[in-house]
Symmetry: C2
Subunit: 305 residues, 2 copies
């Protein structure tokens, strides 16, 4: 199975505390890497966790609260100074291009690699990116400013033919495309060999959803239905639900309720308030509602199976 | 003697490497604290080094290259979230106010404490700040964009009267101001007691100069003449003098030459290129020219005596 997972670089909410850092994470799929959010110090955290800084070609920003993007200029500048030539794409709400341009104008810096900023409309769910292996959709969230989550879906691949069967049934090259497209094979004796015998079945595409920052927001349910892994913000314990509502954040029990209603396979909680040193109670409260849940640890990689 | 010194938070040049972080340092004088430059992650470094983040009321930015200010929005936002009410002043070249305003506009944030940005003209040396204990002048430097160093001078204080002498000579309260201003004291018997016997003499005001980033630039010499402590950038070893000239940086031998010509008491080298893992050679080369020199260590406090 192709390696698919996410490494947490930062799990704190706006005020960093207890060694936890602002939001950032790296999704990996096979040999590709994608950065989601880029809080201050992201470029240093990547080095600390042995993630090659230059491995990123796409950065997805959820919204323009500082704890989600104050590290963006740092990574853009680091690439510039390291002699990067590969194109870089940044996806996120309106404002990113203006901020980059203003910083570069005052520093009289010239960007030495192609940088494209894709302005995302956080109110509409669209496929915003795809390459050969993965596609990314945005997920409209409910927060104080325009905010979008991101859904990573591995692409359906054509089934693989089992090599031994090619020899066993003496399958000619010209039949292979038909078999990959689902056809049975009829050999020269008229014997029909069923497609299922000849191919490795395609697994259901795995999905990873990132939902931060957001109030409890059921309209996201259809988009995250059945995902293999859901990262949902969990700024507060359930006794702070009023504060969560006031600031458009979620409690751990709200996050777990979303996970239950969306039938996700596993839930990761993150974006913790600086009022909580220990996160044990966060997990205890969530597990009452949704069993397969973890509070994220920075530096840890969560594999999507 | 009143405690006066500087704690190094970051000592790397533009690309952070070997655990060294971008430029930032905290000057302390008695109970007051001042931040000079604010590279990415400064707010985290302060916590790591047990420097109370809220202790800063003035921030001095040398120039708008990212490694000197990408942590500024983070510290401004942290104050906002921590419920700061004390005024904050930021000093630096043109652009800082625009950058702060743009970030706050997109994040729809409202600043909840008084923030004043003082635009410094990096081409003219002026006294730009003073309070009861210290004054700060800017030092025009030579770099690729408008850049200023900063000179911290402790204020001349009125001499203190030795308490025991008040009792010994039965000095009335109304004479104390005159004595502090230098007058001798004549007692009721007509005996004249000289001012020097009654007071603790004023020491020469101590000075700290921060010069980063800059090419070798002799016009700074009159401003830093005789300072107790000079922090001078030292991006390169002497064999990279062409690169230093090209990028308006200094070598360690150039920094040491400036220190010698300015008759400073002690030299600190900083702003090291990412090409140098060890800084031993940096110190060895500089010490040949100026003996009382150190390559700075992050987290270390250098006391000005």
């Amino acid at each position: 199975m192709i390696d698919f997972g996410v490494t947490i670089l930062g799990s704190s909410s706006a005020v960093a505390a207890f060694g936890r850092r602002p939001s950032s994470q790296v999704v990996h799929y096979d040999q590709t890497r994608y950065l989601i959010d880029c809080g201050e110090g992201t470029v240093f955290r990547m080095s600390e966790y042995d993630i090659k800084v230059g491995s990123i070609n796409q950065i997805f920003i959820s919204h323009l609260h500082g704890d989600h993007y104050y590290g963006l200029m740092g990574i853009i500048s680091t690439y510039n100074l390291n002699g990067r030539t590969e194109p870089l794409e940044i996806f996120g709400p309106d404002g990113i291009q203006d901020i980059i341009e203003m910083n570069f104008r005052y520093s009289k810096s010239t960007l030495r690699y192609p940088l494209t900023v894709h302005k995302i409309d956080p109110t509409i769910a669209l496929k915003i990116f795809e390459n050969d292996v993965i596609e990314v959709h945005n997920i409209p969230l409910r927060h104080g400013i325009p905010t979008t989550g991101y859904l990573f879906i591995e692409k359906s691949r054509t089934p693989k033919i089992i090599k031994e069967k090619i020899l066993e049934y003496n399958i000619p090259v010209e039949s292979i495309i038909d078999i990959k497209n689902g056809a049975d094979f009829t050999n020269t004796d008229g014997q029909v060999i069923s497609n299922t015998e000849l191919t490795i079945p395609i697994s259901t595409p795995r999905k990873y959803a990132y939902c931060s920052d957001t109030a409890y927001h059921e309209p996201i349910l259809p988009m995250i239905e059945g995902v293999d892994l859901l990262y949902h913000e969990s700024t507060y314990l359930s006794n702070e639900v009023d504060k969560a509502n006031q600031y458009f954040h979620s409690t751990c029990t709200q996050a777990a309720t979303i996970a239950t209603k969306a039938n996700v396979k596993k839930l990761l909680l993150g974006h913790f308030s600086s009022r909580y040193k220990s996160l044990d109670l966060m997990k205890e409260e969530a597990i009452e509602i949704f069993e397969n849940v973890d509070v994220v640890e920075e530096g840890k990689t969560y594999i999507i199976v």
